[in-house]
Symmetry: C3
Subunit: 674 residues, 3 copies
């Protein structure tokens, strides 16, 4: 789509903040705009939070308060992203239609006070939402300051259940399964005598234990959000200009309650709201993880719509302002991941409400401060270098397969209270991050897996035969596939396969098993085959693998379990399948992943950098290679630059291939090759 493309190809990196003059205790618009100009801010995000300002009474719309904000911004050369205000309903609407608020699975209704707690499928909610959206869009669509629209905000399914949602679920099931007898079969409802003969007998979600039912419920809940946001996007699309974009801002990380990939299909560009710990805990991983997800959703550049300025928190327990330099580091880290905008939540701090301690660029005193000074410094750098840095293209050889269904399937039948699908996925990503290997996220629906040399698969507990066959084919065709325990155990209905595990993966994996065991305490791998020392430890789960064609890379050090391999490898076609039948320590995971990367020819000098230094590679706006070196530490770090000769973008100084560079604490070096 033209609009999407134009949205993604931007002239420079935008740098800004959300701005809510309507939240301020006194008039200060001119002051704020002056401070913004002085700092070099180029974009503000406005309007998404305040339905009751847009429409203080039912059907009475007010625009003057926003007209002047946008006008002043435009005057100051600041661009505007305008949000639809649907994530929090006004008091008059709650009074009139309290039933709009979500009824939870336990039958309790959400209370008024917090935002993001409605049933977004509710027709009354849709009616009032549509009306206010159309009013706003009609008013501002032609304003030259407005570059795009945000629909809603960090939308979730809000745990809405209740009769209306339940009825929607039955409709969803009818479409998917036709007759209840099909449900009886795939969910095994003979168990505990719960065969359903007619749709009106389907019991509600509240007391359900059946994993198949629960999985479909999760899918249905995800589809409700996709439906709501694509509905909003369609409305906005009726109004928006060709040079404007429609966007949603996902909260950080990978989600299990919404299908981000499906939603992204309705968006021109993805927005993301990464928040992360700073001070001594800043290592760049949390930001990169979220960025990698955001970039992977459309395999394109994205916007950082919100991130931490001073401190975050819904109370004052975790107030951690960044050390000097950390704010700036994070900006360049996002750009290196493909962000074309970095914006803070928010410009000011709030004097009341739940987010009093979620502090913006300005503190509550609303005057320049330490963070404002660092913001100004970054803005100046972006003003000068933004056009070279924008539209940074990543091309990664490694992907992680994310299966939202497998997350849920394992949650329904967890193997531990702390270790789960997500911890394995995060461990894999953090391992790659620590190895300075760029990575994308793919899903079972991603069409072109073959573009990756290595595919890491967290416990793929729920998967159709087709998906498993695709993975086998991927290896057969030369891919390095890293599989983990529990993969292939259930089919797409979360029903355990009635065949030798791991089912359709058996030939590719080269083994089968009939048994598995929890591990009461961690075990060592016999002989420490990966030289992991104190880290030679596996835990929680052991599949009692019987080899067919695979070879054991490691066995358990235990009187009984030693007969079962812990890690195996099976050459398959022109590729190979490496398998982890247990939960690995970080050290072992690193060793196994490194081993697989080596097999794929993906290792090099980046794995030899000093521990706190991260490097990220890509193609600059100019079409030339560009390399980011980031020092996540309070001490200077000496690094070797191992790529083609170029120049330091920020200083203009030339950098020779093989040159040694010293990175100051919390500093960044950006080299663009000649």
């Amino acid at each position: 789509m033209t609009l999407a493309a134009s949205a993604q190809k931007m002239p420079t990196v935008l740098y800004g903040a959300s701005y809510y003059h309507e939240y301020m205790p006194a008039e200060r618009l001119d002051q704020d705009v002056a401070l913004m100009k002085q700092a070099g801010l180029t974009v503000v995000r406005v309007g998404e939070s305040t339905w009751s300002s847009w429409e203080p009474k039912d059907g009475q719309f007010e625009f003057a308060w926003m007209d002047r904000v946008i006008a002043k911004m435009h005057e100051a050369g600041i661009q505007v992203i305008l949000g639809t205000p649907t994530y929090s309903i006004p008091p008059w609407l709650f009074r009139k239609h309290p039933e709009i608020l979500a009824t939870r699975i336990d039958g309790r209704r959400a209370q008024y006070g917090i935002r993001q707690n409605m049933d977004t499928s509710h027709p009354a909610y849709r009616f009032y939402s549509e009306r206010v959206i159309r009013q706003i869009l009609a008013r501002y669509k032609d304003h030259p300051a407005v570059i795009g629209y945000q629909i809603d905000n960090e939308t979730s399914n809000y745990g809405a259940a209740g009769p209306l949602v339940q009825a929607g679920f039955v409709d969803y099931l009818k479409k998917r399964f036709g007759v209840t007898q099909e449900l009886n079969k795939v969910w095994g409802l003979a168990y505990w005598g719960q065969l359903v003969q007619d749709w009106d007998e389907l019991p509600p979600r509240d007391g359900i234990l059946n994993p198949g039912y629960k999985l479909e419920w999760e899918r249905y809940q995800q589809s409700r959000v996709t439906d709501f946001l694509s509905w909003q996007a369609r409305i906005v699309n009726e109004y928006k200009r060709k040079d404007q974009f429609v966007m949603q801002d996902f909260s950080g990380g990978v989600h299990t309650d919404i299908n981000q990939w499906a939603i992204a299909r309705s968006l021109d560009i993805v927005g993301t709201n990464p928040y992360y710990p700073v001070q001594d805990e800043l290592d760049g991983h949390a930001a990169t993880f979220t960025d990698d997800v955001a970039r992977s959703l459309k395999m394109a550049n994205f916007l950082v719509t919100e991130t931490n300025a001073q401190t975050t928190g819904w109370d004052s327990k975790v107030q951690f302002p960044p050390y000097d330099g950390q704010l700036r580091m994070n900006v360049f880290s996002h750009i290196a991941d493909g962000a074309n905008m970095v914006a803070y939540w928010h410009w000011h701090s709030l004097h009341y409400g739940q987010e009093t301690y979620w502090k913006g660029v300005l503190s509550h005193d609303l005057t320049p401060n330490r963070i404002y000074a660092e913001f100004s410094k970054v803005a100046a750098e972006l003003k000068q270098h933004g056009p070279r840095l924008v539209n940074f293209q990543r091309k990664n050889d490694v992907a992680i397969l994310y299966s939202i269904d497998s997350f849920h399937g394992i949650e329904f039948m967890p193997f531990d209270d702390k270790v789960n699908y997500m911890t394995v996925l995060r461990q894999m990503h953090k391992t790659l991050y620590g190895l300075n290997i760029g990575v994308d996220f793919v899903t079972p629906e991603t069409p072109d897996l073959a573009r990756y040399k290595v595919l890491l698969v967290p416990p793929l507990y729920v998967a159709s035969d087709r998906t498993l066959t695709r993975l086998a084919d991927y290896a057969r065709a030369g891919g390095q596939l890293l599989l983990t325990f529990k993969s292939g155990f259930t089919n797409e209905y979360d029903t355990v396969r009635a065949e030798l595990a791991p089912g359709p993966l058996r030939a590719a994996a080269g083994f089968h098993y009939q048994e598995f065991s929890s591990l009461k305490a961690p075990l060592a791998l016999k002989g420490d085959p990966f030289n992991a020392g104190a880290g030679n430890q596996v835990s929680h789960w052991a599949e009692m693998v019987q080899l067919d064609t695979a070879t054991a890379l490691a066995v358990y050090d235990h009187p009984f379990f030693s007969r079962y391999p812990a890690i195996t490898r099976n050459p398959f076609g022109t590729g190979a399948v490496t398998f982890e039948g247990t939960v690995l320590s970080d050290a072992l995971q690193r060793a196994v992943v490194l081993d697989v990367l080596k097999a794929a020819g993906l290792t090099g000098p980046d794995q030899a950098l000093p521990a706190p230094v991260r490097v990220k590679h890509g193609t600059a706006n100019s079409g030339r290679r560009m390399h980011y070196y980031l020092n996540y530490s309070a001490t200077p770090q000496n690094t070797t630059y191992s790529y083609g000769a170029g120049a330091d973008v920020l200083t203009g100084r030339p950098v020779a291939a093989g040159a040694t560079a010293t990175l100051a604490p919390w500093d960044v070096l950006i080299v663009e090759e000649k």
Copy 2:
């Protein structure tokens, strides 16, 4: 009763599993029966779980699916126990009568999805239950394969409260107390101004703090279950043949929400479902504890209706398949406790539903495996030796007094979050188990206490004067009575006695007290009188005992508390009362119990066996003495056989008195005397 007797005297030990072909993902009845025959299985338990298969729609009954199962079993020579399917209601019944589900004390109604959550007193539930029971019984009562009937499954009171149950409680109280003024008196309702003048003023259970009210509520709840199961038993008795039995399967251990002794009076034979940890935690105690309860209920042989095959758990957190040999060990352990049947839950594993990870003999792949092989080995041994092993008679000299009321009384006014009535009771049982002393459970209602030489009494907090007098009489007549703290403190209404503690026990115990103290930290006994070393520690509670005629066996090592004895003994009549005024460490409990056993002349070579070896004695089917030696460890153990010359039942090898035998890891030696 003839039937009961015939049920208890069986020709051989049955060995089998529950079987639910209706749960299988595809037709495999012939395959399963062939695998069963090949393995040597002799009994299946069927039908209790699947009301919706029996009656898919209201009043429409289906039998064909079960007819063929029973027919095939019969053909294969496999016996069948048929269950009434009342523990889980079908969806159509829930839709029609949602009010059948239990309303909890907090007013919430149980949800559909889980089993065992109805108000079993509800007339609608009773109506539909009776109809389906009669249909099934009428259909199969004459089938030669059917040897008995199970009523319901692991029945509890399910926490049902709500107006209907509350009304039943008022009726119960009217019968028991006549007028509310009696309640006012025994429950002390003047306190906090809660005198009840009329029955319609009795407040509901939800907010009640009064211990007397709470205790009667517990008794009423127990009576509801007894009433429900005896009602089912009466229905079944109308149909069953003289050679058939009626049975209920209690879940493992001793129960506090049902009165197992009262229920057992309606049964021909007791079933029990012990599940226990295996791998490194298998020491036989959990199984023995449950078996001892089951045997004590009717003082007769019993059936193990369910026990673990591969793994258990409602998720995959505690998946522990047994080590080689452990499955077999457990079978012989049960037989040595008096079991005439051992059956697994279940034959297969399930591919859906809450118990996906509660694995049967077969794994999800439904083909022979390691456990199937061990099952087959045991089945072969039982085929050969079952008739010698069956109907094993225990005759124990020691009993533990179980007071369900005392458990509740202490729960209402606990003295610790972790230590309670049950922990003391379990400590006593485990101490005896570790000393290789067989034990029965008795209750305050058990008529013939004099048959035991030693009676151990966990904190008998709630007891009538009559019960306390019986205990004093027991000691006076020569019994060794081991009493513990809090005994005699309240009467049968949980009302504290207004006299010097321990009330009617004072003369027999030989002391009184006016005060007691919690112990902030454990204390030592002065001078380590039991040579317990590091285990010389008491804790949590100290009764500030003032001696009348008793002597102190131990006093506290403390500036203030040293004036009060911790353990006392009082010769009384021809017996004695030993008293523990505080919570003893395991080491001290062992020392005190051993001391009491010695006084009763019950010690001997069994206390000198190697630590992991357990021995169990009884009378074989032949009338001769039989001895089981079980090695609960992964290392071979040398034991001395200290009883009359006989032969190893399993190998036929002779065993001389005083012979040394080596027990292989997780192995058993069964000697029948000549």
Copy 3:
């Protein structure tokens, strides 16, 4: 008021217990009165617990049961305090008006069974309460034994919410704010689009997150209790004689759910119910803390209406009877704090009900015991010396400012799960107690702060400009003001000030800050400036202070934070402001407080006493100085008596200035100067 004055000036110290003959399992009034006389008891508290005895049926009143109790007491020379029985409603009232019970914020209704759970604003409750109060007062007002009346018991707001209370809140807001637009402004309701245009749109409390709303709700809840108790006091005042008093007994400590100062204005004398740990944990602090609050409420003598006799607890987990001597110690400690009565809860122990283990002077056996003996000893001492000890006057130079609003404001936005407003306040009080410095509590409304030389201010998070200005003025006029972090951050609506922190305190404090940080781990102060050794540790929170005129007393030992002072001092006018920008260890708090006390000239020999010895000073009934020395330990302690020559009140022995005295374990020395 005459009555109040007479109530506070008493002829001797009363010593007694609550007495509920109606709770006893059998008739024993004569026995009890005989035991009381024998022990020397002089006062009983009766009647407040038993509405259903006063009025067993709706409108049917019974007095005979109490007539004889009061008559017997009078005969025995024992005085009586009579309570209104409104804290627990009878069953017939619950049946008739279940809606009287409090509906909680979450919509659940309180259940019948516990006391103190009604909506005390409910008109039905008020109607029946008034009727029974008037009946009782009319009956006994002229009885010579009755010296005063207690209204209700340990009254709270009981968390009552629900439609009626919510409607009352709207009325409260209307009075306070006039129009919703004012709320919109001070609470910032534009945030999340929650502007309220009309009062009927105000959302109920249940889901509210807005701190300003929550603070007003707390104030409204406090006002409901003040209103209820002043209403009861007005009724009682219609009946009571001039020589009788009206009193309420506050539960121990300082309260956050009621405004004790406001309530005390309706009372003639304050009652307080301190309960505290004894045995090894008795150090006198808990008792003194509660006493200091009670005395401060009206700056006058008070009554200890309940305190522990044997043991306390609503179960048997914390049963700790006092060691020998501890009961007596506590009596004299209370008198030294200004108590004119010490009475136990209760005379007897209960045989049923929730407080079975809250044991009185007598145990359940109701015969004399160890505690009865100690009671008798104390009673004899009081009989002899009471007239010299009564009406003890304290005059303290140090005060702690208690801000109930600040407690709530910080609770809404806590900076830690364990450290909070109360822990800082308690640390300050305990520090002074350990230093033997007497202290009063004041509030922001206390008129004459200048009477104190030192004012300690726990985090004054919520405060009006006026309050902050008063504090600045206090220092300017010569006061030593000890301020803490978070002070001045929000205004009286809990709205953060839009100016440089600490707002109106800036000039007096001599610094400002824009940032603050949580501390992930404790930090040391650079160079250990207070010689605190292992205690040189601050934690949780650091205000990033920038000095204006103040000097730094300590800075953080940290690469980043070292640029910010942790503790500062600013001379201001003729006084000074010392400031703690972080949470101090106990050792540092002691050092800083001692430093401030020195600056005020308040230190002397009392800080050099042996660690377990506490001293309390005041003016005796005679007008002469009197000094209490209390040994809180199990070992004898040698102390030096540093005040004017006098005599030991209890023994009559002379005590010279500078004399050395040896205090026996858990013993007291009372010296009255000549």
